[in-house]
């Protein structure tokens, strides 16, 4: 049980997650991205992005500044680059967080604390920011507000992650005195109260205009499935790998103890 052992397994879990996330994003997400780009190209959306000349897209997506990546590349190699890089980065971060959580959250065994870290990571990094600022397909979103929308998204993300860290610390403080049930209830309630308050205070973004509602829903459903796959596979793979590592190390330790006792 060393930081290296955790990190190597996290990077591997992230790689697996990135590849599976690409498959899910391609199957569940790409059709609605294409549909949204068709809407954008047809000029039906009130906030067609950028200052590009209208109706010259012809299938390719924002090519106005000279750089051009074909839709074919964006939806395959480009998408794979994004999902695999993100998977490996989050895999490594989750693994190091799990290494820190090891033996520090109640009496959870290594695989249990690892699974908990991944689950709390999904809720705080992906789910809660998504609920406040859901993913938007191409053609939704005013190019002039990308700065403020990016800031708002990452502020919400930061609040959510910090609130989750604080909630786990609160749990640790309470668990010995009040028991697991009360400690979980109190800390989960505190996290919820914090992100609900933050969500209520943060500005609302609504730049949907008359973008078709069904396409928007299919896109957001695909996006949520993509995020759930990323975090779910990282959590499942890393939990399995850490559980196996702990079993091996425990067996080695047991043999050493036996040898020493002879």
């Amino acid at each position: 049980m060393t930081p290296r052992n955790f990190l190597v397994r996290g990077l591997l879990a992230g790689l697996i997650a990135g590849i599976l996330t690409f498959a899910v994003a391609y199957i569940a997400g790409e059709p609605s991205v294409d549909a949204a780009i068709k809407v954008e190209s047809a000029g039906e959306a009130p906030h067609a992005h950028g200052q590009s000349a209208p109706a010259t897209h012809d299938g390719d997506h924002h090519e106005e500044n000279g750089t051009e990546v074909s839709r074919q590349n964006q939806s395959t190699w480009g998408l794979a680059t994004a999902t695999i890089s993100t998977g490996i980065a989050f895999g490594g971060i989750v693994a190091l967080a799990a290494a820190f959580a090891l033996g520090r959250i109640g009496r959870l065994r290594p695989s249990q604390s690892t699974a908990l870290v991944a689950a709390l990571g999904f809720v705080s990094v992906a789910l809660v920011p998504f609920i406040k600022y859901p993913a938007t397909p191409p053609a939704v979103g005013n190019a002039d507000t990308i700065g403020s929308r990016t800031t708002q998204y990452f502020v919400m993300l930061a609040i959510s992650v910090l609130a989750m860290v604080a909630a786990v610390m609160l749990f640790r403080k309470l668990v010995d005195r009040f028991g697991t049930y009360t400690a979980v209830l109190t800390s989960a309630g505190a996290y919820l109260a914090a992100v609900i308050l933050a969500g209520a205070l943060m500005p609302t973004v609504n730049e949907i205009g008359d973008f078709p509602g069904d396409t928007l829903w299919y896109f957001r459903r695909g996006s949520l499935l993509t995020l759930a796959t990323l975090w779910g596979v990282i959590g499942i793979a890393l939990t399995g790998l850490i559980g196996k590592l702990y079993a091996q190390e425990s067996a080695t330790q047991a043999r050493r103890d036996l040898a020493a006792s002879l």
Binding site: F6, H61, A82, S85, L96, F130, A135, T150, T226
Partner: protein, 70 residues
């Protein structure tokens, strides 16, 4: 060696001391943040380097992973 064992009566749960974890967490946390910046936000609100090549390449992933794209 690298293990500290908490004094629980039956199951021994190992934990990793902070001073061993800190350099790994700092270095890979920074690398992770760097990678995520390029995937999630570069050449949208801020552009390092200028242009749209990175934005274009990871465009679909950025939308589907829920980051504000454009």
């Amino acid at each position: 060696m690298s293990q500290v064992t908490t004094a629980t009566p039956e199951i021994e749960i190992p934990s990793i001391p902070l001073r061993e974890l800190a350099p790994w967490a700092l270095f890979f946390g920074l690398i992770g943040a760097f990678i995520l910046f390029f995937i999630s936000a570069d050449q949208g609100a801020v552009s390092i380097p200028a242009g749209t090549a990175i934005h274009e390449w990871v465009h679909d992933g950025r939308h589907l992973l829920g980051f504000p794209c454009h």
